[in-house]
Amino acid sequence: MTFSFQYVLQILPLLLLGAEVTFEATLGGMAFALVGGLILAVARMSPSRPLSRAAVAYIEFVRSTPLLIQLFFLFYVLPAFGITMSSLLTGILGLGLHYSTYTAEVYRSGIEGVPRGQWEAAVALNLPPFQTWTRVILPQAIPPIIPVLGNYLIGMFKDTPLLATITVRELLGAALNAAGESFRYLEPISLVGAIFFVLSYPSALLIRRLEVGLAIRRR
């Protein structure tokens, strides 16, 4: 079997369309995980016992079950209860729900890194809880964890091929589709790997630069 560049050129447009879907799924999942994780982290640290216990239970449950199963549940089981979404939206939701439990723990570590005195100063100034979070705590908690969040996002990006299993025509889905027609797997699958590499490696470098930039700004 020889590697055919001609075949590569032939399927490239199709794969780039798939890459676009991968990109959408990553951005959507990321937005979801960043917001959802923050909500979970704050709920977990809430003085209300039931709320914080519910958050812990949710986090532990989701982290202890595979993403693939969660995707299948959303895609195959929810419609039985009358909840139907497009496969891409289902994928974004699944990635977001799954990764928000990880980002929640990252946020938590950032929040716990803020000295106690900052909370006390906020009380002494009579800042309401919302302002205490948005003006005092989070602006100090988030910058140090941006690189960690970034790494989870790259992780999420590399998990997007799982969406192929729920019929999302993302990068892998598109490649399998092409391969199914030509019975050639070498080029499509290699190409998928190459595209992932070309996208994740620079992202990792970008995060490194961000990390350094933040360190400088904080000095």
Partner: protein
């Protein structure tokens, strides 16, 4: 210069002549009894200095007034209003957050470790709460904030971040920040203990002036005895969670009646 004045603001309930009133306040951390059945009053406008060996409960006392700690039993009143509690029939129950905030608005605090917000400039530290809590306009808050920074002598550092300031400057900004909320009671919790010795004077100077020129009620926990005797209307010596001696500064510093006070003062002054 506009200080928070001792007069009640319009719309607030008429001020009691007592700023603070502790009644049978006990505080324990687990098995450790920090304050034992403490009862005392602070009249409005009084400058009360609290001294005592470390671990005697003086910081806890201030922190309870700021609602950073809560009494295990007993009650605290601020201008005649219960702090952290409300009456429900004959019982006392936890107060609503909004009313706690309302009572707490009377109180400001300066901490040993400054606790400035590191991601905000000096001026932003000062104007943050007036803008967010009192809904002051930005221009108004900044105008007042600059006046306060001028008063504490850090005008030229308004746009610096805390990390660019010396400890003494940071603490003076922290004083300005607390004053910006116009509290009627100010708590100073060992505000020079974290400072290099040569920076202590500049911070004490600010507090001295404040004590002289404002009608604010001030509670000051300090180990600086000269400073204490200069500004205090009254000094309380606290040991083992109890008030051992309560007297005007002249009496307590020149002729303490209690042997334990004498011992403590001797140890501190001989340092």
């Amino acid at each position: 210069m506009q200080y928070a004045d001792a007069e009640p603001d319009i719309g607030r309930p008429a001020a009691s002549s007592l700023a603070i009133s502790f009644r049978n306040v006990c505080k324990s951390f687990g098995d450790l009894e920090v304050l034992r059945n403490l009862s005392f009053d602070v009249p409005t406008g009084e400058k009360l200095v609290i001294i005592g060996p470390s671990g005697c409960g003086k910081t806890t006392l201030l922190r309870m007034l700021m609602t950073l700690e809560h009494p295990t039993s007993g009650t605290i009143e601020v201008f005649g209003e219960l702090l952290g509690l409300r009456r429900a029939g004959d019982a006392l129950v936890a107060d609503t957050p909004s009313h706690i905030r309302q009572v707490r608005a009377n109180v400001g605090m300066v901490f040993q470790q400054f606790n400035l917000f590191p991601h905000m400039t000096a001026l932003d530290n000062v104007v943050e709460a007036p803008i967010r809590v009192q809904r002051a306009s930005k221009a108004e808050a900044q105008g007042r904030g600059r006046e306060l920074l001028e008063m504490v002598g850090v005008t030229d550092k308004a746009d610096c971040y805390p990390r660019q300031l010396s400890g003494g400057q940071q603490q003076r900004v922290a004083i300005a920040r607390a004053l910006a909320m116009q509290p009627r009671i100010m708590l100073f919790d060992e505000i020079t203990s974290a400072l290099d010795p040569e920076l202590v004077g500049e911070v004490l100077k600010v507090v001295r002036r404040l004590a002289r020129e404002s009608g604010m009620t001030m509670l000051i926990v300090t180990h600086e005895m000269r400073f204490a005797s200069d500004i205090a209307d009254r000094v309380v010596f606290l040991e083992g969670g109890e008030i051992v001696e309560d007297a005007p500064p002249a009496a307590i510093f020149s002729n303490p009646s209690n042997p334990r006070t004498r011992e403590f003062l001797h140890a501190v002054l001989e340092r």
